[in-house]
């Protein structure tokens, strides 16, 4: 039973990583850049939801929606002002800009909300626990896992069926050819940032519901872990981000439970290194191939 508890905790944590990893992987796949500010968009989303719940007293669903809308606008703005002018620049310049953006967001949060950690209100999500036999699942855990599944199915359908979703895949594969089809590349990249950032807001609320300490650096570590998850699963691949996120969460929880609490994170990264040695493109990454 303890094993099952750990497994469910791992799935829940992994689901959060997976939702964040989707943002990394989609932006990487389509804009060909690592958006290191993604983790901090999560933190901003959590603060917005926190303000909604704590100060403005709006209903939880509205607070989450507000956070999503805000983060969507934030993501599109960041892309438009900071990344778009660098579309032709070296990837190193873009990477440094993204790191700078990450610190900018953290410092803005520090300015507005201060350095003292806020205690995220979790009562709205932790209504009642669900008991299955001896198994005790908190509603936060359940909601996290369900949200992850819903997001995964929706995104998969969107990219495989919707015209704009397919356009995203075109831009990801060959930007020039996509333009020749009449696809507006800039708008497609904006859309990608919008989706990724809205998901970041959801991840922020879910993260703080399970680990309710909110401070300006809250997004950093989950951001890095989710980035790891995206690489683990094969960066650029949506199912890869899902698989990578969930495996990462499960490995982390099991590592902490059965091997060493202190070494939990180290174990996660050790597994990543081993996987990348065996499969350099990640678990579901596509090896580069070219046909003449």
């Amino acid at each position: 039973m303890i094993f099952l508890d750990h497994l469910i905790n791992g799935l829940s944590l992994g689901s959060i990583y997976a939702i964040i990893a989707l943002g990394y992987t989609m932006v990487y796949g389509i804009a060909k850049m690592l958006n290191f500010a993604h983790g901090d968009v999560i933190m901003i989303g959590a603060y917005i939801a926190f303000c909604g719940l704590q100060y403005w007293g709006i209903p939880p669903v509205l607070a989450i929606l507000l956070a999503m809308v805000f983060c969507t606008l934030l993501g599109v703005t960041i892309e438009g002002f900071a990344y778009r002018p660098l579309r032709q620049a070296t990837s190193l310049a873009v990477l440094i800009t993204a790191i700078g953006m990450s610190y900018l967001l953290q410092n803005i949060a520090l300015m507005i909300w201060g350095a003292n950690p806020k205690s995220f209100p979790t009562t709205f999500i932790n209504g009642s626990n669900i008991r299955i036999g001896q198994l005790n699942i908190s509603s936060a855990t359940l909601i996290t896992i369900v949200a992850n599944i819903v997001i995964m199915v929706t995104l998969t359908l969107f990219t495989s069926k919707a015209k704009l979703g397919k356009a995203m895949r075109c831009v990801s594969e060959d930007r020039g050819a996509a333009e020749l089809m009449g696809i507006n590349v800039n708008r497609t990249i904006s859309l990608t940032f919008a989706i990724g950032s809205a998901l970041a807001a959801v991840a922020g609320v879910l993260l703080c519901s399970s680990y309710p300490i909110l401070q300006p650096t809250t997004g950093s570590m989950p951001g890095i872990k989710a980035f790891t998850a995206a690489v683990f699963g094969g960066i650029g691949s949506i199912p890869g981000a899902m698989l990578g996120g969930i495996l990462l969460g499960v490995i982390e929880i099991f590592g902490k439970a059965y091997i060493s609490t202190e070494l939990g994170d180290a174990i996660v990264f050790a597994v990543l290194i081993i996987v990348l040695l065996v499969k350099p493109a990640g678990l579901l990454g596509k090896p580069m191939r070219e046909k003449v």
Partner: protein
């Protein structure tokens, strides 16, 4: 309508294109009339593809003008040119390798209303029955000839008034080259104006009405395709005889 008929469908006037400091196109002028097949031949590196990419809007001319259907279009941007009725089947095909044949064709119709897609696809399948057989296959697994057909079919999906083809015969076996050129003729007969860039000058001149010869960023000769085919200089330089 009659006004427009008299104007060339495409008119390029003295364009200059640079890659950084390299002056790749040094003042090119050419015209394509509605209903024609015009070919642009020349050696590797003469600037043929650069010319097509500039007309398609992928590159911006630093100087000179491009008019399509009587409207100035230089600097319009590739994604908008498709909506104006101009489509480029690029060098190296550049099909979406990870998508299916059908999805590639659907994306070719991105600029068209969704209701049209099915009908356009039927028409494309008439030109390329092979593509229909491979409809569900991932495009990257097609043979070279099939990939070329897919690239052409995809370009046709946008129902262009002018289709530009960049080296459609590249890397294909002679029998496939014949087949591709036959289809080019058919597409033209069905009403699509064609601007063709080729290294295979023999084949290109045999299907074209008119031709331009390019050398290091300039047009050195132009005229009737038949006349050029029998021109001594052209024969020596490009037809190997």
């Amino acid at each position: 309508m009659s006004e427009e008929k008299k104007l060339p469908l495409l008119k390029v006037r003295d364009i200059h294109v640079y890659y950084g400091a390299i002056h790749a196109i040094k003042g090119i002028s050419l015209e394509v009339n509605e209903g024609e097949i015009v070919t642009l031949i020349g050696a590797n590196g003469a600037g043929k593809s650069t010319t097509l990419n500039t007309i398609a809007g992928l590159l911006k001319p630093r100087q000179g003008g491009i008019a399509f259907a009587g409207m100035p279009v230089e600097g319009t941007g590739a994604s908008k040119m498709v909506y104006k009725g101009l489509s480029l089947c690029p060098e190296g095909r550049r099909i979406f390798q990870q998508m299916t044949v059908r999805e590639n064709l659907e994306m070719g119709a991105f600029s068209r209303p969704n209701e049209e897609t099915e009908k356009s696809m039927e028409q494309v399948y008439e030109f390329f029955p092979r593509l229909k057989e491979r409809e569900k296959q991932i495009a990257g697994t097609l043979s070279g000839g099939e990939q070329q057909m897919l690239a052409m079919g995809r370009a046709l999906m946008s129902k262009p008034r002018l289709m530009m083809l960049d080296e459609p015969s590249m890397g294909l076996a002679p029998i496939l080259v014949e087949q591709i050129f036959e289809i080019i003729r058919d597409m033209n007969a069905a009403g699509t104006t064609i601007l063709l860039v080729e290294q295979n000058a023999q084949m290109a001149l045999s299907v074209a009405n008119r031709a331009y010869v390019m050398e290091t960023g300039r047009i050195t000769m132009e005229g009737d395709a038949d006349d050029l085919m029998h021109d001594d200089n052209v024969r020596k330089a490009y037809l190997g005889s």
